[in-house]
Amino acid sequence: MSLLMYAVTEAPADEIRGTGLHGARLGGVRERGLVAIVSDGDSSSIDASEEALWEYEQAIERLMARHVILPARFASILAGEAETRAMIARRYGELIAALDRVRGAVELGISAGWRDGAETSAEAPGSGTEYLLGRLALQRRASAVARRLDPLAALARSSRLRVLPRPALPVTGSYLVDRSRANEFVRLVADLDAGLHEADVVCTGPWPPYSFVEGVPG
C-alpha cells in the first residue's frame, strides 16, 4: 500500500497519532532520527476538491501544534516505507537544515487588495498598447504598495513577496516569524493597513511553514 506523506518531523515515531485526510490514521516512518508522518493512501484515494485541501490543512495544523514540522506538499505519495526511508536518507542534511530554519516560528501571510478597484480599469477594453500601459501603471502602483510593507521584513526571519501576482492583488507575501513576535507582526500589519490609501492589507495564518521548507535563502 502506498503512503500519503503529511510532514517530516524530529519527533519519535511512537508519538505520532491522530487522523489525516478522510479520517485515515497517521503513523510515522523513521529514518536516522527523522520521521515522516504518513497515512495509507494512493492518488486515487485523494479527493481532488477544495474540501480536501482544507481537511489536509487542518491535519497539518494539528501536527504543528505538537511537533516541529516541515509540511509536505499536498498529495505527496510515496510507494511505501522503504521509499520513504530512502527519501529521508537522501535528503537528510537538507531536512535537518529546514527543521532548524523553521523551529519556533510560524508562517504568516499577507494579502493586499486594491481599495478602489484599480484592476478593473487596467483590464478595460482598448488597444493592446492601452492594455500594456495600463498594466505597467498597475505594476508601478503595486510596487509602491510593496515598498510600504518593508517594515514587516524586520520582524521576520525570512520573507517572500510577490508583486501583482494577479491584477486584483498588488501584493501577496509569506513571512517566517518567531512565535514570540507573531502578535507584534499582526499589529504592524494592522498599522500599515491603516496608513495605506491605495490598498488594504490582510494578515492570514498562522500557517505551517510551507513557503520556507525548500531552501529559500533568508
Binding site: 506523506m5 510532514a7 517530516v8 492518488s43 485523494i46 481532488a48 476538491s49 477544495e50 485541501l53 482544507w54 489536509y56 490543512e57 487542518q58 495544523e61 501544534a65 516541515l70 509540511p71 509536505a72 506538499r73 499536498f74 498529495a75 505527496s76 505519495i77 510515496l78 527519501m87 531536512l95 529546514a98 508562517e107 501571510g109 494579502s111 487588495g113 484592476e119 501583482l164 501576482p165 494577479r166 491584477p167 486584483a168 492583488l169 501577496t172 509569506s174 512565535r179 507573531a182 502578535n183 499582526v186 499589529r187 490582510v202 494578515c203 492570514t204 495564518g205 498562522p206 500557517w207 505551517p208 510551507y210 513557503s211 521548507v213 525548500e214
Partner: protein, 68 residues
C-alpha cells in the same frame, strides 16, 4: 471562493477571526510549497505557479481561485 472561514488562529495570537482565507492563499501553500517528494512539473497559469498533481484538481482549482 472559499467558504466564509475564520483564519485558523491559536489562542496566543490576536488575528481577528473574521478574516477570510481565500482559496488562493491555500493553493499557494499546499500546491506550490511544502516538502516535495518527487520531481513535480510546475505550470505557470495566470501568474500563479501551480504544481501539476492531477489535471482535474488543477483545472477545478484555477476555475475557483480568483482575486479577493
Amino acid at each position: 471562493m472559499s467558504p466564509n472561514r475564520a483564519i485558523y488562529a491559536s489562542e496566543e495570537l490576536e488575528i481577528p477571526r473574521t478574516r477570510q482565507v481565500t482559496l488562493l492563499d491555500l493553493l499557494d501553500r499546499l500546491l506550490a510549497g511544502g516538502v516535495v517528494v518527487h520531481g513535480h512539473i510546475t505550470l505557470a497559469a495566470a501568474d500563479i505557479d501551480l504544481v501539476e498533481l492531477d489535471l482535474a484538481l488543477l483545472v477545478a482549482a484555477t476555475d475557483k481561485a480568483g482575486g479577493r
